[in-house]
């Protein structure tokens, strides 16, 4: 089981879909993002795994394990 969080509008969107919280997942961060089908409007360029930043380009090599906390970061436009 991993713990999934999201920031900003992306967090709300995932929450609305019932995806925020604990979920069973095996594989890489890239695989997780694919499974979540993140809307391009929210992009989620950056993620944190256990508080450490993972860039979009490093997702494939970031393998998730039981107990990890993943936060997907959304760049909503200016405010």
């Amino acid at each position: 089981m991993i713990t999934l969080k999201g920031t900003g509008l992306l967090g709300d969107d995932l929450d609305d879909q019932g995806k925020i919280g604990r979920m069973a997942f095996e594989g890489s961060l890239a695989g997780l993002c694919e499974q979540l089908a993140i809307d391009p409007a929210f992009a989620g360029y950056l993620s944190q795994v256990n508080g450490e930043i993972v860039h979009e380009t490093d997702r494939a090599k970031c393998l998730l394990k039981d107990g990890d906390t993943v936060t997907l970061i959304s760049p909503v436009t200016a405010g």
Partner: protein, 609 residues
């Protein structure tokens, strides 16, 4: 063509009002709001003029799409020479005032001179009167009520200044419709210098001269459907810009304690989730969302302060709802001053609206004062007995009120962070550019933002370019100059139409061009983008004539030398010089930031140089 083809002039020195036909050639070239307004300003003043003198001119400008059925058609811009930056002053606002000015039959209202006594301007279509302002000395909210009573018209739309603007606070804004503001550049101080308390306008002429009404309505239907379906738009409606806070916190670009840090330990107490979550006592901050004129997004927040909170206990006038926290207000009253009390933040938001203060500039100025306090330079005896400690909700609430009312140490805060830090011998603690304070994004963690801050013609601003997605993908300076330049041009054009920058994410630039074409005839995306570039260069020309140089496209040493301590861009500084060289090249400017002759010729600006 959806211009009204009429400009209202008011000379307060001569106590005279008259209208003139809109200069159609300029309207074609500069479209509206900040473009068209700046063109008129260039014609009416010498850019080297003292911004607080009667020779400065204050323009209230709408765009050709203002007051039409396009989504977000409520925008207007206040334009003058800025007393905060000594550069072009240009402050964009929503609400209903701008559309009403257009409905009264005017594209622009141009105010010259200085009244002998405090006055307000009453506009009812062709009936324009300069009236004595008995409400001078009152807050924006009190003046709004007084004018509404005097003219006995519940539908009148009012833009006014508070005591801060009356007293020449250089971070004073113009507030319209109670809680929308032309916030930046100290435009409220210029209005105050003219002894102009308010503009009250009622329009019944409407906007009716759309070039191709059938196509215009059809385009509107299609575009609005697209906007309605957009998930990003749905998120903005639900959470407003406030949602940006948790993202910037996680990313590590949330300016904290005067930009020493980029992550704030109290972020989750003041973010958009906190705003909609009931407290232990059952209080919910966020009441509802609210639209500006014509807007189908409605990102505005309406909030209530917990009546038991120290700031409003026994002050029932603050127990009702008003304009709540958006991202910039949340940042400016939260992380940058270290405060994590959402009711205190909301109180500061109410009060800055009530007294007409730019929340961003106020928050960052208070943050500078707090750092000066920490250095021992500003002890409590110099600040009305209040300890200006980072994190003090009391200091935030008291100083917001004092600055708004121009009382005590609030008068010094009202001068802005640049003047405050210079006065107390630490100019390096001013976090801004060209004298204007930074918005809620760190220029080291976001290199494109750093370049945007430094090159923004109106001083540090986050809304004149859009490099957010590139900045969040990659914290280096590589490839940031091009999107910065390109989006500055696009946003200049978007602003000039009279629509809101925030719809830019949900409708394409081609959509803007198509709407302009249906409304005014003869527009396509290439022409509109070139127009945006022309407007950017026009503003730059104003600044060059005002005496600004490359040295003014600067960032404080903290952004250039002190590495980001945490977050995704940990270790970075803003590589501004490298970015500027690349940027000037892309702009067709010389390395000293003057504009090359062939660039001026290409943009049709040679005659103004």
């Amino acid at each position: 063509m959806s211009w009204q083809n009429k400009v209202l002039f008011v000379d307060l020195t001569a106590n005279r009002c008259w209208s003139e036909p809109l200069n159609q050639r300029w309207a074609e070239k500069y479209v509206g709001t900040r473009g068209l307004g700046t063109r008129y300003l260039m014609d009416l003043i010498d850019p080297s003029v003292d911004p607080m003198s009667p020779e400065n001119v204050l323009i209230f400008a709408t765009g050709p799409l203002t007051g039409t059925s396009c989504s977000t058609s409520g925008r207007w811009t206040a334009i003058c020479k800025s007393p905060l930056t000594n550069s072009i002053g240009s402050a964009n606002s929503g609400g209903k005032f701008g559309a009403e000015l257009k409905f009264a039959g005017y594209d622009l209202l141009i105010v010259k001179g200085r009244a002998k006594q405090p006055v307000y301007l009453f506009i009812d279509d062709d009936n324009v009167e300069i009236r004595p302002a008995d409400m001078w000395g009152q807050s924006v909210w009190e003046a709004d009520e007084a004018i509404r009573k005097e003219v006995a018209d519940p539908n009148i739309k009012i833009a006014a200044i508070g005591q801060s603007g009356e007293n020449g606070a250089r971070i004073a804004c113009i507030v319209n419709d109670l809680h929308r503001a032309a916030g930046r550049c100290g435009v409220g101080a210029v209005m105050g210098s003219k002894q102009l308390k308010a503009v009250a306008v009622r329009g019944s002429q409407g906007v009716g001269n759309v070039a191709d009404p059938k196509r215009f309505m059809q385009l509107n239907t299609e575009i609005k459907a697209k906007v309605a379906a957009d998930k990003g738009r749905q998120g903005m409606t639900r959470n407003g810009t406030h949602a940006m806070l948790s993202s910037m916190q996680a990313f590590g670009g949330l300016p904290t304690r005067n930009f020493r840090e980029v992550q704030f330990e109290g972020a989750d107490k003041i973010d958009h989730v906190a705003a909609r979550t009931a407290t232990d006592t059952g209080h919910v901050n966020l009441q509802t969302n609210k639209a500006c004129f014509g807007c189908t997004i409605a990102c505005g927040r309406i909030a209530k302060i917990d009546p038991e909170h120290f700031s409003v206990k026994d002050r029932p006038q603050y127990h009702t709802a008003s304009g709540g926290l958006e991202y910039e207000t949340a940042y400016a009253f939260g992380p940058v001053v270290g405060v994590d009390d959402i009711d205190a933040l909301t109180f500061a938001a109410f009060v800055t609206n009530e007294y007409g203060l730019d929340p961003i500039s106020f928050g960052v100025t208070l943050a500078a004062a707090m750092e000066l306090h920490e250095l021992g330079v500003l002890p409590a005896e110099l600040t009305d007995g209040i300890e200006l400690k980072f994190g003090s909700a009391e200091a935030l609430c008291v100083m917001a009120e004092k600055t708004g009312k121009a009382e005590g140490f609030g008068v010094e805060l009202g001068m802005g962070a640049k003047r405050l830090t210079e006065k107390y011998g630490h100019p390096e603690l001013f976090m801004g550019s060209k004298g204007q304070e930074f918005a809620g994004y760190d220029a080291r963690a976001m290199q494109g933002m750093g370049l945007g801050y430094a090159t923004s013609n109106r001083g540090a601003c986050h809304l004149k370019h859009d490099v957010f997605s590139q900045d969040m993908k990659d914290h280096t300076s590589n490839g940031k100059a091009e999107p910065c330049k390109r989006t500055q041009d696009i946003i200049s054009a978007v602003d000039a139409t009279g629509l809101c920058l925030f719809i830019n994410g949900y409708q394409s630039f081609e959509d803007f061009a198509a709407l302009m074409d249906a409304a005014c005839g003869g527009w396509d995306a290439d022409k509109l983008q070139l127009t945006g570039e022309r407007i950017w260069n026009l503003e730059k020309l104003f600044n060059l004539k005002a005496g600004l140089t490359r040295a003014d496209d600067s960032l404080p040493p903290r952004m250039l030398n002190d590495a980001v301590p945490t977050g995704s861009a940990k270790g970075s500084v803003c590589e501004l010089d490298k970015l500027l060289d690349e940027y000037y090249e892309l702009r067709g400017w010389n390395p000293d930031s003057t504009i090359k002759a062939d660039t001026l010729a290409r943009l049709g600006l040679t005659e103004l140089a």
